[in-house]
């Protein structure tokens, strides 16, 4: 059992080669891949529809393409890829992770509210820093950018600390 590895998931070495290949393809066909920017594109689309003057006046939206762009297609593609992969995967998904249920119970409201807050923070932080796990850490470090390595060290450290405090390192 100890040596069962990552099953039922793909082994990480070929998966990493595959994802690195996809990233190099993106560098060759478009530019540095990013995903938190896709949230800006989505919100820009929303404001272009309902408050076009606001979208035109805010620097953050001016700097980013709207819908009908590579970025929008990429994040929607990610959802489609996740859908196809999930539908053809042997393991059932859960709405509440088991470790969360052990600590906080199975109330969906608690989990969903925490996720809303978590989602708010990851995007607020990513937009302040200029990118996320993909746009800043993975793409950035691939381009040898200091910003990517610096951001990577901080996010891993703080996420580990936060998760340790959240679960109080409880034994199960």
């Amino acid at each position: 059992m100890k040596e069962s590895g990552n099953a039922p998931y793909w082994p990480i070495l070929p998966s990493a080669i595959a994802l690195a290949g996809i990233m190099v393809f993106i560098f060759a066909s478009f530019g540095p891949p990013a995903s938190s920017s896709g949230f800006v594109t989505t919100m820009k689309g929303f404001f272009l529809q309902f408050a076009p003057e606001y979208a035109a006046n805010k620097a953050h939206y001016r700097a980013m393409p709207g819908p009908g762009s590579w970025l929008m297609a990429f994040v929607l593609g990610m959802a489609i890829g996740g859908f196809i992969a999930g539908r053809t995967f042997g393991q059932q998904i859960t709405d509440i992770p088991a470790i969360w249920a052990q600590r906080f119970g199975t109330s969906p409201a608690k989990r969903y509210a925490t996720c809303f807050l978590g989602g708010f923070l990851i995007l607020f932080g990513a937009r302040l820093a200029g990118g996320c796990t993909l746009g800043l850490f993975l793409s950035g470090s691939t381009q040898l950018a200091l910003s990517g390595i610096y951001f990577g060290v901080v996010i891993f450290g703080i996420a580990m600390l936060t998760t340790h405090l959240l679960f109080k390192n409880k034994r199960d």
């Binding site: 540095p32 607020f124 820093a129 993975l138």
Partner: protein, 178 residues
């Protein structure tokens, strides 16, 4: 128009692979952050190692578009701290939550909605925050090549650094897989 099809194809391939390796599963992400699951962090570092070598080869053959982001000591660090708290709480990051929504995870849907709200609030405050937090400590688009003087050497340093981190994670992290 070609851009949209290339983006869609790239996204589908990306989303498929990150689901298959388990990065869209917040249970695995929590265990990884608790140092009980080594595969996700090792996977991420391996991706960077291979992609950095691939990009080096691509650029040597005259292709590729790069745009290294600048480093702002305060904004990159503070953004990372805020991001890290959110990542630790939810078990999702901006990319994985799109794929996890496609996979059908309800908690990812709420992460995505929170993300759209966080984006809107930041974009609203951009003009007030960027000049104060980002610009004063912006040291520009610094890369390892600037520090080591040679692109090949810099790629070598990155590969060694990330390779050692992967070995260290293998020693210190457990091998639960969620």
């Amino acid at each position: 128009m070609a851009d949209i099809w290339i983006g869609l194809f790239s996204g589908i391939a990306f989303g498929f692979v990150i689901q298959r390796v388990g990065a869209t599963n917040p249970q695995k992400m929590f265990l990884a952050h608790l140092m009980r699951e080594r595969y996700i962090p090792q996977f991420m570092l391996l991706v960077v190692m291979f992609a950095a070598i691939g990009l080096f080869a691509l650029e040597a053959s005259g292709g590729g578009t790069t745009r290294p982001l600048p480093t702002s000591i305060v904004a990159t660090g503070l953004g990372g701290i805020i991001f890290g708290i959110g990542w630790g709480l939810s078990g999702y990051c901006p990319g994985t939550c799109w794929a996890a929504v496609g996979e059908g995870r309800m908690d990812a849907v709420f992460t995505l909605l929170g993300g759209l709200a966080g984006t809107a609030v930041f974009a609203h405050l951009h003009e007030a925050l960027i000049p104060v937090l980002y610009m004063p400590t912006n040291i520009g688009q610094v890369t390892l090549t600037d520090l080591f003087g040679n692109r090949g050497v810099a790629v070598g340093v990155l590969v060694v650094l990330f390779g050692l981190s992967i070995l260290l994670i293998g020693k210190l992290w457990g091998n639960e897989n969620g």
